[in-house]
């Protein structure tokens, strides 16, 4: 800005300095002339002013021009002033030149001064700018450093905090001085006040429990010699006697030649973890003890079928070593059970479903015992099977007990049949005696017909035909009773329930007649077959019929009716209902009716309904009781239809 102004000033001055000189002289001429009109003694000194002004303003050239113009003006001024003499004129010229030179000098000095000042100012302002910029930068840097410092503080604080929370401290050991610089947390871990003093490595070792000290020292020493890294666990006893467990690890920093310079590392207080691990280990070992000692064999199988775990009980039972068991886990299975079990197991594994099977497993002494083997899958969050947990429970005794129970039940059932037969004895006697009486009589008659003269062969033949017929009938009755009394394993065959009912009624019919009970049957014409044991079902029916008859015997004031119905109860069930119009059952006793040894009869065993129910349930059916709308009750049982047999 300053530069620009001075330049303009110089240019302007250069352009106007000669005209200015002329104008100055003209002005001095006019002024001097005018004054001379008023005061004729006015000197020409004003011209000097014009010369000085021109030289000051324009420099040496315009000064000379003003001097020459002044000389000319004085020379040609009207004669009011005395004419200039040559010497005077020369003096004047010299004075004018001198003044011009002086002024020029002055002007140059001024200009140089001005120039120097301008240059100085420029330089100063430049330097000031630079300084200012430097200052700004410095300020920014300072701010930045302050921020960084704060961040550093913050992260240091966080580190401290983290170390405190994690019970981890860090340290650096100068291997030259063996002095150790550590974070606050290390002091705290060792039970010291933070930064109370710088510790020497040997002091550190002193803090470690005597039992572990040598081991730690050795680990560190080894790391210094040939390793980079070490890690060691140790115990310390704090000054106040508290015991802590530490995990220490460190690294050795070496120079280019491999000489150790520094060691640095961390110390972690793992007391809590140690405690937790100890608890865990304890509970694990307890669990392990439980698993090993429970009277059940337990194991874990991986999804690929490989054995992952097997308990001691298993090994003891099988008398195998762990290696043998792992090599061939199925070696203890009974050869007869192996194929079906493996097939079932394969299906379970493929479907990821519970596996349950009864199988025989060989004991160490070679005896096979029955086991209930169950395996359940453990899934991860994605539903993938991680493992299969299996158990084998010894059910051999249970199986034997079951078999014994079945035998006892069978015996009891037979006793029950005998009891029923006892009740039916009169009817059965009648049923057999009738045809027997007829046979004897017919035989006698036929003998007579043959003995007659001439023998009446037609009558004899007729009588013998009746003998055959009645004999057949008697043997049928005997056969029915024998079947019912026969001891034998239940045989499941497809049966038409209506046939079973007819056979039973044939046995009971005489008793019905004897007790004056009228029978009504409503047997559904198209019923699917059921799968069952004929004799057992006859037994159930007979039992229900006899119960009904007993109930009806006490009835005198209304018809004694026994109604037997069959129908299709549910899509897959056939129902038989035995209904009487008897005295009914006290609702309070209805619940106990099916219990063994419960009876409402004076001479009853109390087994009939209990056995009937167990027979029906063994057939996959259900036996129940409903009171009638009118007098009496209805016993009903429903049996599943034979698979694939639909009407």
């Amino acid at each position: 800005m300053i530069k620009f102004d001075s330049l303009r000033w110089c240019r302007w001055r250069a352009g106007v300095r000669y005209p200015t000189a002329a104008l100055s002289v003209a002005a001095a001429f006019i002024l001097t002339w005018g004054l001379k009109q008023l005061f004729p003694a006015t000197p020409n000194a004003l011209y000097f002013c014009a010369i000085i002004f021109s030289a000051w303003l324009g420099g040496f050239g315009p000064g000379i021009l003003a001097t020459i113009l002044t000389g000319a003006a004085v020379h040609f001024t009207p004669p009011a002033s005395p004419p200039l003499l040559m010497p005077r004129y020369l003096v004047f010229l010299l004075v004018g030149v001198f003044i011009s030179w002086l002024m020029e000098r002055e002007r140059r000095t001024q200009a140089a001064l001005q120039h120097a000042r301008l240059a100085l100012e420029t330089k100063v302002s430049e330097r000031t700018g630079a300084l200012q910029a430097a200052n700004e930068q410095l300020k920014a840097e300072f701010a930045e450093r302050a921020a960084v410092n704060q961040q550093l503080q913050e992260s240091r604080r966080k580190l401290e905090e983290a170390q405190r929370i994690a019970h981890v401290g860090h340290w650096e050991r100068d291997l030259e001085t063996d002095l150790i610089t550590c974070s606050d947390e290390i002091y705290r871990i060792f039970g010291l006040s933070p930064q109370e003093r710088q510790l020497h490595f040997s002091e550190f070792l002193e803090l470690i429990d005597a039992g572990d000290r040598a081991r730690v020292a050795q680990s560190v020493a080894e790391a210094l010699v040939n390793q980079r890294h070490y890690a060691v666990d140790c115990k310390i006893v704090r000054a106040d006697g508290e015991i802590r467990f530490l995990h220490s690890q460190g690294e050795v920093i070496r120079d280019n030649l491999g000489r150790p310079l520094w060691a640095l590392g961390t110390v972690q207080d793992i007391t809590e973890r140690q405690k937790f691990e100890n608890t865990l280990r304890q509970s694990e070992s307890q669990l392990r003890l439980v698993i090993d000692t429970i009277p059940t064999m337990a194991w874990i199988v991986l999804p690929d079928g490989a054995l992952d775990f097997i308990n001691r009980r298993w090994l003891e039972y099988a008398g195998l070593s762990l290696a043998e068991a792992i090599a061939k886990p199925t070696s203890t299975m009974h050869p007869e059970d192996l194929p079906s079990s493996m097939e079932k197991w394969g299906r379970s594994m493929a479907a990821g479903e519970l596996f349950e099977n009864e199988m025989r497993l060989r004991r160490a002494d070679g005896e096979y015992r029955w086991f209930l083997v169950r395996t359940v899958p453990l899934f991860d969050e994605q539903g993938k099977i991680l493992k299969w947990y299996g158990t084998s429970a010894d059910i051999d005794d249970l199986k034997r007990a079951e078999a014994a129970l079945r035998r006892a039940q069978g015996e009891l059932a037979r006793v029950s049949v005998l009891t029923m037969m006892g009740e039916l004895a009169a009817s059965i006697a009648h049923e057999v005696n009738q045809p027997l009486a007829a046979v004897v009589t017919n035989a006698n008659a036929s003998l007579r017909w043959l003995a007659a003269l001439p023998p009446n062969l037609d009558e004899a033949r007729e009588a013998i035909r009746r003998i055959v017929r009645d004999g057949d009938r008697a043997s049928e009755v005997i056969a029915r009773i024998r079947t019912l009394l026969k001891k034998g394993e239940p045989v499941r065959i497809p049966l038409k329930i209506n046939e079973v009912i007819q056979e039973t009624l044939a046995l009971a019919q005489p008793e019905l007649a004897r007790r004056k009970v009228s029978l009504e049957t409503e047997l559904a014409l198209t019923l699917p077959c059921i799968q069952g044991d004929r004799v057992q079902l006859q037994q159930v029916l007979l039992n229900l019929v006899i119960n009904a008859l007993d109930s009806l015997s006490a009835v005198a004031d209304r018809p004694r009716i026994l109604r037997i119905r069959t129908d299709q109860h549910e899509p897959k069930r056939v129902r038989v209902a035995v209904q009487d119009t008897g005295i009914g059952i006290d609702p309070a006793q209805a619940d106990r009716l099916f219990q063994a040894f419960f009876t409402t009869k004076p001479h009853g065993l109390g087994m009939g309904l209990a056995i009937s129910r167990s027979i029906v349930e063994a057939h996959g059916g259900r036996l129940w009781l409903t009171p009638n709308d009118g007098p009496g009750v209805t016993f009903q049982f429903a049996l599943p239809v034979q698979n694939g047999d639909e009407p």
């Binding site: 009738q434 006698n444 009645d470």
Partner: protein, 137 residues
């Protein structure tokens, strides 16, 4: 005429024996046996049928089952006594019952036989009955 004579002759030499039993086999067998002896026989399935028999008056002996559907043997015995029809009765039964037997005999029954009965016992009883019969010629 011939018919009437024959019938009369038959009546005298071949006494009519009635059988009441609801058991068809016994009825048929007894009927045959009576005829094989040379008597005439007529069978009824129930007491009610017997009571409406055409030749009721001709009957010289009744072989009666105790247990019958409807009116039973003992009731029929009482009924005949009330009607003053003094037909000698031989009871037969498959259900042995001592009080019943005693009662039947007390009321004048010829015999009380348990099924199956022997031929001898039956024939002996029939003989006794025929002798006791008021229609004896």
């Amino acid at each position: 005429m011939v018919n009437a004579n024959t019938q009369l002759a038959a009546q005298s030499s071949h006494p009519l024996v009635a059988i009441v039993d609801d058991e068809e086999s016994v009825r048929a067998a007894t009927d045959g046996l009576i005829r094989s002896i040379g008597y005439r026989a007529e069978s009824f399935a129930s007491a009610e049928a017997f009571l409406v028999a055409e030749r009721l008056q001709e009957i010289r002996c009744l072989i009666l089952d105790v247990k019958l559907g409807g009116m039973d043997g003992l009731a029929l015995q009482e009924r005949l006594a009330m009607d003053n029809l003094r037909i000698p009765i031989i009871f037969i039964t498959a259900h042995w019952n001592e009080p019943m037997r005693a009662r039947a005999l007390r009321r004048g029954a010829v015999d009380f036989l348990r099924k199956p009965f022997s031929e001898t016992a039956l024939l002996k009883a029939i003989d006794s009955a025929l002798q006791a019969s008021p229609h004896q010629p």
